[in-house]
């Protein structure tokens, strides 16, 4: 089973890893979500704490917006698969993760972005 962590903001993937306060953690296996997704609200944004959380929670995959090279390298070093610079609504992004079709820098537009709140 894999564990996905996504910093989110409203209905979107949070633009920045270091400024995110809302974290979605999803367990998935063979393209389906296992159990209930978990949302964590951080007391304050902190890239260091988020990296610690990734390690502590044994996260295997991270999908995020902008991330600094330093933290990206740290997560990769910790054998976490990081897919960064992703823009889009997190539900659609999650679908792409489950389909195994998401790649770095993807902009997921379905034309319904106006209905989403940032």
């Amino acid at each position: 089973m894999r564990k996905l962590l996504m910093p989110i903001q409203g209905d979107f993937i949070a633009p920045r890893f270091d400024l995110a306060t809302e974290i979605l953690i999803v367990n998935f296996e063979n393209g389906t979500v296992q159990g209930d997704p978990k949302t964590i609200i951080m007391e304050r944004p902190s890239d260091e704490e988020l990296c610690q959380m990734v390690v502590k929670e044994n996260v295997t995959d991270v999908v995020c917006g902008g991330i600094e090279e330093l933290h990206y390298n740290f997560l990769v070093w910790k054998k976490v698969a990081v897919c960064d610079s992703v823009i889009g609504g997190w539900k659609k992004v999650l679908e792409k993760v489950l389909d195994n079709t998401l790649s770095q820098g993807d902009i997921i537009l379905f034309g319904d972005e106006q209905l989403l709140t940032l």
């Binding site: 903001q9 409203g10 979107f12 949070a14 633009p15 920045r16 890893f17 270091d18 400024l19 917006g65 902008g66 991330i67 600094e68 090279e69 990206y72 960064d84 610079s85 823009i87 820098g105 902009i107 537009l109 972005e113 106006q114 940032l118």
Partner: protein, 470 residues
């Protein structure tokens, strides 16, 4: 029929020398220029119709488009500093300018975004802050490094700073650097020497006056406090400020308001105060020469500049610096000092500190006709004045201090000790020099004056000043 002037937005944006883009009324990207594409790492075609902040990713408090909304509704342009994270995982410092765009009819139709890359500028600033040499502040000794470490802390706050230190130690320079490193750097830095002006004049100088306040006040004068509004007022020689003015200064510091001389209306000011003195203010407070409340008001943050004799190793650097500077100005090619001259300079006490050191180098550079400055080209008093204490002769100096030789002139005992001279002002040192010279020449003023390189009149004036006349 010819259409009204409607320039192509893409062409228009390309003419802007900064990364720029246009957003619609929902803050979605309509068009970006190539510089913006390069900065964010996204091609314009790929991010069209996406919320601007999802692409810019700034830390300017605009992550939900608050700033966009504010500018869009108020029409007031906003310029904030921050950074962005581009798709190459690079953090870039920017100045984020957001301004409203309106249609011909006056309706708001979108926003113009400009992200000025200020990383190069900030790097320059940082280098400058770490290397105080650019401010002509040279010091590698532990004591000076401690002072340098304090500067960013002193610059951050608006609290009053008191800089203490002997004459010539660089109090003015430190005050200026604190101002330059503070958020007030864009506003004036005004220096007032509290010891240079008589009481009435100083009051008018500081607080200004209104027309007709006194004879000669033919027009309103704003005063230094007003001129330094939003900036820093540097009050040097604060220990020499007359007591009545100290009261007025204290009230300005407390209320942030003052009334000009002869005026009726008080003026509000936002001024940061940095004060400096070579006098021991605490002793002055004890002697009722300085108000205790003002002392505590000014002494919120305090930094002490060590005298040159306590800055081990710095003398050599300072000598090199000033020699280089002065020889360049004179157009000479002096490469340094001979070993004897250098030793004499290193052994000297420098009662006048860096100012004296600079003057010595200037004197020597002016009269030097060779590649290296020799002992003979140093000021003659260098070989006569007390040298820097060495471990071996420390005892001797102290012993000498305990049993002062009889003096031909009236000299209070406390002025005669070498340990006192170490922490005394330039005036005390000059006084001591005169006494020593008079002793050497058995009180003969003609020979003493010649020895000191003065005329008899100057010697008489100095003796009168230091109360050395019978």
């Amino acid at each position: 029929m010819k259409l009204p002037f409607q320039p192509d937005t893409t062409t228009l944006l390309e003419a802007i020398p900064y990364p720029a883009m246009i957003l619609d009324s929902s803050f979605r990207i309509i068009v970006m220029n190539r510089l913006m594409e390069a900065m964010t790492g996204y091609p314009s075609t790929k991010v069209c119709n996406i919320h601007g902040e999802l692409v810019i990713r700034s830390n300017t408090g605009n992550n939900r488009g608050q700033l966009y909304r504010q500018v869009f509704h108020s029409g007031e342009p906003v310029s904030v500093a921050g950074d962005i994270l581009n798709c190459y995982r690079r953090k870039i410092r920017i100045q984020y300018h957001i301004s409203q765009l309106t249609e011909t009819g006056g309706d708001t139709c979108g926003l113009l975004i400009i992200c000025e890359d200020v990383s190069a500028k900030n790097e320059t600033d940082e280098t400058r802050s770490e290397n105080y040499r650019s401010f002509e502040l040279i010091g590698y000794s532990t004591k000076m490094q401690k002072v340098f470490e304090m500067i960013p802390l002193l610059a951050q706050t608006d609290a009053s700073v008191l800089i203490t230190g002997e004459t010539g130690t660089g109090k003015d320079k430190i005050a200026e650097v604190i101002h330059q490193k503070s958020p007030r750097a864009r506003f004036p830095f005004i220096k007032v020497n509290c010891g240079a002006l008589p009481e009435g004049l100083l009051e008018s100088e500081l607080f200004g006056h209104v027309k007709g306040a006194f004879t000669g006040a033919t027009r309103n004068k704003p005063g230094m406090f007003k001129l330094a509004d939003r900036g820093t007022l540097f009050l040097t020689e604060i220990g020499d400020m007359p007591l009545p003015l100290q009261v007025k200064l204290l009230s300005v510091l407390d209320d942030r308001k003052f009334t000009p001389v002869g005026g009726e209306q008080s003026t509000s000011v936002d001024v940061r105060i940095i004060a400096a003195t070579h006098r021991p203010l605490q002793e002055q407070v004890r002697d009722n020469q300085f108000r205790e409340d003002l002392f505590y008001r000014l002494n919120v943050l305090q930094t002490h500049l060590p005298p040159l004799r306590e800055r081990e190793g710095d003398i050599r650097y300072l000598l090199d610096h000033f020699l280089d500077k002065i020889t360049s100005a004179l157009g000479k090619t002096i490469v340094g000092f001979t070993p004897t001259a250098m030793q004499a300079l290193l052994d000297y006490q420098y009662p006048g500190n860096i100012r004296e050191l600079r003057n010595i180098v200037e004197y020597s550079a002016n009269i030097c006709k060779r590649k290296k400055i020799t002992m003979e080209q140093l000021p003659p008093y260098l070989s006569e004045k007390p040298r820097r204490e060495k471990a071996g002769d420390k005892e001797e100096i102290n012993a000498g201090a305990k049993t002062p030789a009889p003096s031909p002139v009236a000299t209070p005992e406390k002025k005669n000790t070498r340990s006192d001279s170490a922490r005394s002002s330039w005036g005390d040192i000059e006084r001591q020099t005169i006494i020593d010279a008079l002793k050497k020449h058995d009180g003969n003023r003609t020979r003493t004056a010649a020895d000191l390189g003065w005329g008899r009149m100057k010697l008489w004036r100095k003796m009168k000043k230091y109360q050395l006349l019978d």
